[in-house]
């Protein structure tokens, strides 16, 4: 791939010996938008927390290379320059990610001081400009506001402004709109789309919601049981899902158009780390599974350029 920004190879994470991530390979190109989809416990957040050295009490092996530099096991000082500087991350619940006793302006200024060496009036002016960029109403007045004085949507805008302060090459947005109302979710998705296009910044959107990912991202990776099971351009994934899990997720989603129909549920439950099935993790719930699926982990097969699925039933 041309212009690879981050290259993840065989990333494995275990908490006290319990595997949460079981060999993830993923490339992020500069300036691209990638959606990482899956249900609870599939490892979509852990992938990035491990890559950025944000997990405590976990063992991570494999490799995460950011433009030639290995991040896994890198010294703390090097990681601190990467976090917020090259790769920024925003989370689901902005009001708990923000510091309740510091004003929004102080928190953005702190990121500006750490990553761009700005202080005093220059930092305040830049903080204000960033709040304008993320569409904060009355940006000047909000510099001195605290998180509890803002709405959920405004807090998420403040988080995005902080994330932009270090001018990152990659923004990881972990369920950024899940806690927000529908009309506010639409505002934040539009903001992320605009920022990504204007700044040429790569974006990884972590979400449980295929529709949100399909709305915003050009490429999608689907995770299940600590592995990536399918990876494809968004258009191919929605038109021709290859992995039975992806197809099942799409069929389980109600639609806004077309005839009303009974939802096609996937039987069984979502496996939890520590209880991942051997072989293909989806086999116990899969309508097409056979003994061969349990025997070993299916390797990814290439279907068309950029479209891979880890399933024995997929015709390569």
């Amino acid at each position: 791939m041309d212009g690879v920004l981050v290259s993840i190879r065989d990333l494995r994470v275990a908490f006290a010996g319990v595997p949460a991530l079981r060999g993830v390979d993923l490339d992020i190109a500069a300036g691209e938008s990638l959606g990482l989809v899956g249900e609870s416990g599939c490892g979509k957040s852990v992938t990035w927390l491990a890559a950025l050295g944000l997990l405590t009490g976990a063992t991570a092996t494999g490799s995460v290379i950011l433009t030639g530099a290995e991040l896994l096991g890198a010294p703390a000082a090097a990681l601190e320059r990467v976090r917020g500087g090259r790769i920024a991350m925003i989370f689901q619940d902005p009001s708990s990610a923000l510091n309740p006793v510091l004003s929004i302006g102080r928190q953005i200024a702190e990121a500006l001081r750490l990553h761009r060496g700005l202080a005093g009036a220059a930092a305040r002016a830049e903080s204000r400009r960033l709040l304008d960029v993320v569409g904060m109403p009355d940006a000047g007045g909000r510099l001195d506001a605290f998180a509890h004085e803002l709405s959920g949507g405004q807090n998420q805008r403040a988080m995005i402004a902080m994330a932009l302060a270090g001018e990152p090459d990659l923004l990881i947005a972990d369920e950024p709109t899940t806690a927000l109302d529908a009309t506010i979710q639409a505002q934040i998705l539009d903001l992320l789309r605009r920022l990504q296009a204007e700044r040429g910044m790569a974006l990884v959107l972590i979400s449980h919601d295929l529709a949100v990912v399909g709305d915003l991202c050009r490429r999608v990776a689907v995770m299940y049981g600590g592995r990536i099971v399918e990876e494809a351009p968004a258009a191919s994934l929605f038109a021709r899902p290859a992995h039975p899990y992806t197809a099942g997720l799409l069929a389980a989603m109600p639609e806004l158009d077309g005839p009303r129909r009974r939802l096609a549920a996937i039987p069984g439950g979502v496996p939890e780390p520590g209880d991942f099935p051997s072989g293909c993790a989806f086999a116990p719930r899969c309508p097409r599974a056979g003994p061969d699926c349990v025997a070993g982990v299916p390797p990814p097969r290439s279907l068309e350029p950029g479209h891979r699925a880890a399933c024995l039933r997929v015709a390569a």
């Binding site: 949507g153 529709a211 399909g214 709305d215 806004l256 979502v270």
Partner: protein, 322 residues
């Protein structure tokens, strides 16, 4: 067909805290809402947080008495809370809440919790109750062995099945489902929704289905009401409303639904935040965010008015622009 449940102009006001020399701010959570639910049918209630949909559900259940208006169940007015008649009516009105872990007692096996409504309403002998609990567990797709387990030993989807079994125990005619699948994984949501629809078909239960998920509401509802700041702004056939909403807020809400790939219609992105229910704008509450606002919207609250296709819309400009 006679209505199973009828809310007639119900309002609910939460009194704000009074301060020295100041007036507390009252929050009008629900304002003159009228709804009718037929036996065995599903009414979807949609809107964003703070729009009053959960309070409306609690009024329908008789948990919260309305400050104005009335609730009729099977043609009789809901009795005041705590009375014998209210208790009898409440056996037929049950809630399925969003968070099953919060709704269950962590220290009791789930079978004991499913049996609780039977004890409260004095239904059956101990042996009959045990048999009934096993049957209820089977109805929601759980084995009898699951009854001996504690909530933390079950998955989120299984816990929600337990909550539904408990709601069904006393043989209700109406379930108020308040975001019943929002906390569940996507692949589990469809299982629970299908189960609710099947139970409804088998037992003729009516559902008041409160949700922010418009796509889900469209799939399962026979009629739908969209709420904004305590009032119903549009109400009618879900196919018609979601295909071509008439109220500008309903239009924005439908267009805010994320869809994969290029969208047919451009998205209407609403400016600003939903206003504070304690500081309700004059006239039409939606007018500060509305694209079609005019002088009359700032002065006069619009009435719900029947349109040519039968749906109800509360907008001064509903007839003018489709």
């Amino acid at each position: 067909m006679t209505a199973l449940l009828h809310l007639d102009g119900v309002s609910r006001v939460y009194r704000g805290r009074r301060r020295w020399f100041g007036r507390g701010r009252d929050v009008r959570a629900v304002d003159a809402v009228s709804l009718t639910l037929a036996p065995g049918r599903t009414l979807g209630l949609v809107g964003e947080s703070g729009c009053g949909k959960s309070t409306t559900g609690r009024i329908a259940l008789g948990i919260e008495p309305p400050d104005a208006g009335s609730v009729h169940f099977r043609g009789a007015r809901l009795a005041p809370p705590g009375t014998v008649q209210w208790r009898r009516q409440r056996a037929e009105l049950q809630l399925v809440p969003q968070d099953p872990l919060g709704a269950l007692d962590r220290r009791l096996p789930v079978a004991a919790q499913i049996a609780e409504p039977l004890l409260i309403h004095g239904l059956g002998s101990p042996a009959e109750r045990r048999a009934r609990v096993d049957a209820l567990l089977a109805d929601v797709g759980l084995g009898a062995a699951a009854g001996n387990r504690y909530p933390h030993q079950l998955s989120g989807g299984q816990r929600q099945r337990v909550v539904i079994a408990r709601a069904l125990a006393a043989g209700p005619a109406l379930l108020v489902c308040d975001e019943p699948v929002s906390a569940l994984d996507v692949s589990i949501q469809a299982q629970v929704v299908n189960m609710l629809v099947d139970l409804q078909a088998a037992r003729g239960i009516a559902l008041l289905f409160i949700s922010h998920d418009l796509k889900l509401v469209r799939q399962i509802s026979h009629s739908v009401a969209v709420m904004y700041l305590g009032r119903i702004v549009e109400q009618g056939d879900p196919e018609a409303i979601f295909a071509a909403p008439l109220h500008p807020y309903a239009q924005a809400l439908v267009s805010a639904i994320p869809v994969p790939g290029p969208r047919q219609r451009p998205r209407i992105v609403l400016a600003g935040e939903p206003p504070d229910p304690a500081d309700r704008p004059a006239g039409c509450a939606f007018h500060p965010r509305c694209r079609r606002v005019s002088a009359v919207c700032r002065a006069e609250p619009p009435e719900l008015t029947r349109q040519a296709d039968g749906r109800l819309v509360a907008c001064h400009h509903a007839g003018a622009v489709a």
